[in-house]
């Protein structure tokens, strides 16, 4: 039982990992900085580990889906991220993919019940 639990948790991690990018893109129509995004996702019951999220933001920026700017006007400078125009396009497409995928999964899993 021990090993099957382990397997389930590692498979769940993999399932979640696939949704990570879509999740992050969906929250970045407005500017967010690292920690504010962590909190926002936590509040929406979709917590992501900070150690995963921060590097992911940088990767998405490098792929030109996000744009970033440093806000140095406050005492504690923060790096703000938001969707680029390319990011908006990609987000729309991914959302479409997700919807068709989840409705397909929905109907497949229903047959089982």
């Amino acid at each position: 039982m021990e090993s099957s639990n382990e397997l389930i948790s590692s498979l769940t991690v993999e399932l979640k990992r696939g949704t990570l990018v879509l999740l992050v893109l969906s929250q970045l129509r407005t500017q967010e900085y690292g920690y504010s995004l962590v909190q926002k996702l936590e509040e929406s019951k979709a917590p992501i580990e900070a150690g995963t999220l921060y590097p992911l933001l940088r990767r998405l920026e490098k792929q030109k889906l996000l744009i970033s700017e440093w806000d140095t006007s406050v005492s504690r400078p923060r790096k703000f991220y938001s969707l680029s125009s390319e990011g908006i396009e990609v987000y729309k497409q991914l959302k479409k993919e997700w919807k068709s995928m989840s409705s397909m999964m929905e109907s497949l899993l229903k047959e089982d019940e």
Binding site: Y33, Y35, V38, E49, A50, K79
Partner: protein, 335 residues
């Protein structure tokens, strides 16, 4: 706050220089965001614990290919590493014993000379292991980076097609004998190591009337130094092709092209070397002439003729070998 500095440093030291500063700045502000104002040591401790192992975090920041030899080649790399390191150790010990034996014969069989021989054999074994590991690793890094295996031709990364699959069973005339490849690899390593590390051993050894050994070297060592980098390059190319052959086990077109390039390179180098009169120690030939009771004047034209014959033989062998391999490959394609 020292704990935060240490954490940021522990992450950024693994990153490339261009992003180090920016990631550090961002990471620091993220950590500070996680903390209340004027946090206690304990709160900092908890926040860092939550972020986890800095090495792992740095890994997340580094999405690029970060290995020299990837999983695709790893098993082959290990088996060939063992093979080549074994060969190199054997060959280097052989050369050290040869050199030591000659030394012993010259210096006399004293205890001191024996211990010198033993220590040189041990250091030769290490030298062989290190050289072998270095060159195999280098060849595999090139294979990994160039993506030879992913495409039919080197450096093209063409899309894989089912017709690229080798025939089963591999036609007998296309099979490359592994034993022959290993033997050729031994020879290459032996001669390259001999010429590069112990060229003074290539000599004629005559005992004169007083009974002492007179050594006359074939090469002019100073001149030979000029050629050594080229010899190493050619040996390296050849070693790469041997490893490629060993892994593939059968001829294909890209291997045949590689083989042709190697043949061209090696014959150009050999031809330049033999036609360079300064490379050879004329006393070597005079010494042989003396022994065979001929004069220096009668020997000289023979040396010239010898060089021409040698060049002709090299060219013929290279063309024949290159052509033979190509015919094997093309012949098979037609069927």
């Amino acid at each position: 706050m020292k704990l935060i500095d240490r954490y940021v440093y522990a992450v950024t030291k693994y990153l490339s220089e261009e992003v180090r500063e920016d990631v550090g700045k961002e990471l620091r502000s993220n950590i500070e965001d996680m903390l209340p104002d004027n946090p206690s040591e304990e709160e900092v401790y908890k926040a860092l614990k939550q972020l986890g192992n800095p090495w792992k975090l740095a890994n997340e920041y580094n999405p690029k290919k970060q290995y020299l030899i990837g999983p695709g080649y790893y098993n082959q790399y290990l088996s060939i590493l063992k093979l080549v390191v074994g060969i190199c150790i054997t060959v280097f010990i052989g050369i050290a014993m040869l050199a030591g034996g000659i030394e012993l014969a010259k210096e006399g069989f004293a205890v001191d000379n024996y211990s010198k021989l033993i220590s040189s054999v041990i250091s030769a074994a290490f030298e062989g292991a290190i050289q072998g590991a270095l060159w195999v690793t280098l060849v595999f890094v090139i294979l990994e980076r160039s993506g030879v295996e992913t495409g039919r031709f080197p450096f093209s990364n063409k899309e894989w097609k089912p017709e690229d699959l080798p025939e089963l069973p591999i036609p007998a005339n296309r099979v490359i004998s592994r034993r022959k490849t290993i033997v050729s690899m031994c020879c290459t390593i032996f001669f390259t190591a001999l010429v590069c590390f112990q060229p003074h051993l290539i000599a004629v050894y005559f005992t004169d009337n007083s009974g002492s050994v007179k050594v006359t070297q074939l090469f002019n060592l100073e001149r030979l130094d000029v050629f050594i980098p080229f010899i190493i390059i050619v040996a390296f190319v050849q070693l790469g092709i041997f490893l490629w052959k060993y892994m593939k086990g059968s001829w294909n077109v890209s291997l045949a092209i590689g083989n042709a390039v190697y043949n061209l390179l090696s014959s150009i180098l050999l031809i330049i070397m033999v036609s360079d009169k300064n490379l050879f120690n004329m006393n070597f030939f005079y010494s042989i002439a003396e022994r065979t009771n001929s004069t220096n004047e009668t020997v000289l034209p023979w040396i010239d003729r010898g060089i021409w014959v040698f060049i002709a033989v090299v060219v013929v062998i290279c063309i024949w070998e290159t052509g033979y391999v190509f015919i094997k490959c093309l012949d098979l394609k037609k069927k």
